[in-house]
Amino acid sequence: MTSTARTPQIGAPFAARYRYVIRSGIELLHQIAASSRDLAPIVVVVAFFQIAVLRQPLPDAAELLLGALLVMAGLALFLRGLSISLFPLGEAMADAFAVKGSALWLFAFAFALGFATTAAEPSLTAVAHEAARVAAGAGAIADDDGSRDAYALALRLTVAFSVGAALVLGVLRILRGWPLPWLILGGYGLVIAVTAVAPPEIIAVAYDSGGVTTSTITVPLVTALGVGLAGAIRGRSPLVDGFGLIALASLTPILFVMVFGIVLHG
């Protein structure tokens, strides 16, 4: 696998030389078997409703089988990468910032991480364009491509900013050891208060934007970062203080998008 591992073993038997490769291959096969269990409920639900309720044959079984195999292999590879790459990377970042001891750099990093990953999130782009159509339909903006694109971009930047702010707040909470329920329940109290004055057409979009911000790659990284930070700081428990960044990143977009709606829709 690696050149450093290969050099001292020249002449060693095949199995010894490629032990690492063989072992990871076996591990991967194990993981593929485990993924089939992860996927089984979806297959059962789809097959049951298609055959028993809608009474239709499954279309193109070969295509379905190929798709299912790809999903299984993909999930297995992702989980393998998770344990050797994303989790260690998040922990290494947390350790390095803890050693450096500069809260300002840590806040800057947290903001940049939240902002950059959210601005590029494809499901957010899709929601932003839907929201622009809603706004145009409600007469809040002109119904042409230019205004809709500008609206969608402004909405994306708003959500990205709110996720960056959430991660800064979440990291500050870990450093200070503030209890999470105060922030979350207080935040949702604020959300409910703002809902009362927000334009009706933005409310459902705002609530949904909270759910689409956290992607498959960001979640493990951010989780490992929070848990790593809590583990590196004396007196913090990884379980009590390390989790909660994702919850904050799901909350602030709701609030910011409603404020965005109040400002733009008037």
């Binding site: 409920p41 979806i42 789809v46 409703f49 298609q50 309720v53 809608l54 295509e63 798709g67 299912a68 790809l70 999903v71 292999a73 993909g74 999930l75 590879l77 992702f78 989980l79 393998r80 344990s83 050797i84 790459s85 989790f87 260690p88 990377l89 290494a92 970042m93 390095a96 500069s102 750099w105 940049a112 991480l113 950059a116 590029a120 494809p122 499901s123 999470l180 329920p181 329940l185 949702y188 409910i192 809902t195 609530y207 949904d208 759910g211 956290t214 992607s215 498959t216 979640v219 493990p220 848990v227 379980l239 009590v240 203080d241 390390g242 989790f243 960044l245 994702i246 919850a247 709701i254």
Partner: protein, 254 residues
């Protein structure tokens, strides 16, 4: 043959999208490492290899979903929502199969959600095995199932979303007062990870499909909101699961 080129094109565009989507992340991580931290990254080669695994894994995962699940899920959501119209008219009782499908597919897609698996693995590691990976995933899946089923009921009834959200948060508030302090942050986080790669496309199709076939509902206004409820109810489910587990333990000790 046309089928094959379509497949390869899908693989290529999905792979390219996946790589492009992580560019900002790589820039931020690399930038801060070089400018602020300036020290050797431990296990750099492993992390790089693992990163490539992650990218290939997500690509295969998305292509597989696009090949197998998404088209079928969309068609099924539309078919389940439609035929009842011809029968007894728009009445919430005529949509039983829609709620059942919403709950079942909500559970199944959430349990398979990679980011939920990641959080469950981390929680298991941090709690020293006290929090089970499957226990957490099933609790979150049940929460998502209830949330999405309620969301479809809301679309059929035409009831306003904020009422459901406020009721849900009042439940969370009361549960938080009585819950074990150690489980609360994890429960709150489970709300945010339920809706991702697998769940959102199917659930969004269900909401929009349902809202477009029921007279008086606008797909743009009423189709939203399912995701919000799918994020809220897992919090309730995880807190309830923890409380039930604690109560069971107390009973057993007696």
């Amino acid at each position: 043959m046309a089928e094959d080129t379509g497949f390869l094109a899908l693989l290529w565009t999905t792979g390219l999208d996946t790589v492009l989507n992580v560019v900002p992340l790589v820039v931020v991580l690399g930038g801060f490492w070089l400018v602020a931290l300036r020290r050797p990254l431990p296990h750099a080669r492993r992390i790089l290899v693992g990163g490539i695994y992650v990218l290939i894994g997500i690509t295969l995962f998305l292509v597989g979903l696009e090949k197998a699940l998404f088209p079928l899920g969309r068609v099924m959501a539309a078919q389940l929502a439609a035929p009842e119209l011809a029968l007894g008219g728009v009445h919430w009782r005529n949509y039983g199969w829609v709620y059942a499908f919403a709950a079942a597919i909500g559970f199944a897609t959430t349990v398979a959600e990679p980011s939920l698996i990641a959080v469950a693995l981390k929680a298991n590691e941090v709690s020293g095995g006290g929090i089970g990976v499957w226990g957490l995933r099933i609790a979150v899946g049940i929460g998502a199932a209830v949330g999405i089923a309620l969301g479809t009921l809301r679309i059929v009834l035409g009831a306003p979303l904020p009422g459901f959200i406020i009721a849900g948060y009042l439940i969370v508030l009361v549960q938080t007062l009585f819950a074990d302090r150690a489980i609360i942050p994890l429960a709150y986080d489970s709300g945010g990870v339920t809706t991702s790669t697998v769940t959102v496309p199917v659930v969004a199709a269900l909401g929009v499909g349902l809202a477009s076939v029921i007279p008086g509902r606008s797909p743009l206004l009423d189709g939203f909101g399912l995701i919000a409820l799918a994020c809220l109810f897992p919090i309730i489910a995880v807190l309830a699961y923890a409380q039930a587990a604690a109560a069971m333990q107390k009973l057993r000790r007696r």
